[in-house]
Symmetry: C3
Amino acid sequence: MKNLKLGSLKKIEIILEGAYAAFATDLLDRIGVKGYTIINNLSGKGSHGFHDGHLMFNEDDVLIMIIAAVPESLVSPILQGFAPFYSEHSGVVFISDIQVTRMVKFSD
Amino acid sequence: MKNLKLGSLKKIEIILEGAYAAFATDLLDRIGVKGYTIINNLSGKGSHGFHDGHLMFNEDDVLIMIIAAVPESLVSPILQGFAPFYSEHSGVVFISDIQVTRMVKFSD
Amino acid sequence: MKNLKLGSLKKIEIILEGAYAAFATDLLDRIGVKGYTIINNLSGKGSHGFHDGHLMFNEDDVLIMIIAAVPESLVSPILQGFAPFYSEHSGVVFISDIQVTRMVKFSD
């Protein structure tokens, strides 16, 4: 028998240039993120409201968005892990609350 | 005259292999979901933090994300509807709170 | 020295036909949105739960989603700015709460 349970997690959306995809997924693996989904071939412009007009990427850049659902305890390690990267490269990280379906098996 | 109202809904993000797109949209139609948007050609890996390391999809799989905004009353039917599928196939469903613009017409 | 701070913003997701991308980004620029990311080549159907079954776009339409993170003060100008467009064209705007990494430099 199966029962559906919802788990509260943090959704992390990491936008960066596609050239750095392997760097980013390796970093997530090392931090202990067990899975992610990647949206490829994004375009973008600007700073998402931060950095006071500093241009973060041009419209012609090929960007990706890496989406992961993680326990709250991993948010800080992820942000700390990406901080050196974002001090030199353009991009942004979004964090939001989500619920995720969790399959729980009950034996009879 | 038009006035903008915001409605609180649940955003459902359904990630699954693209081969099952028609199954998923048919199921949503039957449940009464009136619209959705599909992001095609995602790549992904792993479990989004659940299933204890059970590999849900490989990086080479072609995944899609179906995004729908639904009333809260439809969340449980959607999750129940997809449960048999996810017991046999990889993927994940994210649920989050959103507001959606709703156009309301006022006659004079 | 760098310290990571999180800023609370509103995430705006604007879904519309790709033919109107330039209109939309020009409008965002004029409103003062400093950056955005665009997901191209979406497909979609229907109304996202509004408009009582009024078909907003067909599955064959090529849609885009423009994602921006903005201060709450910009939400209303964006919705007001897009209202005339959405009275004549299909699409939807999602609004949700997010946190965004903000790099803050501290001098010693």
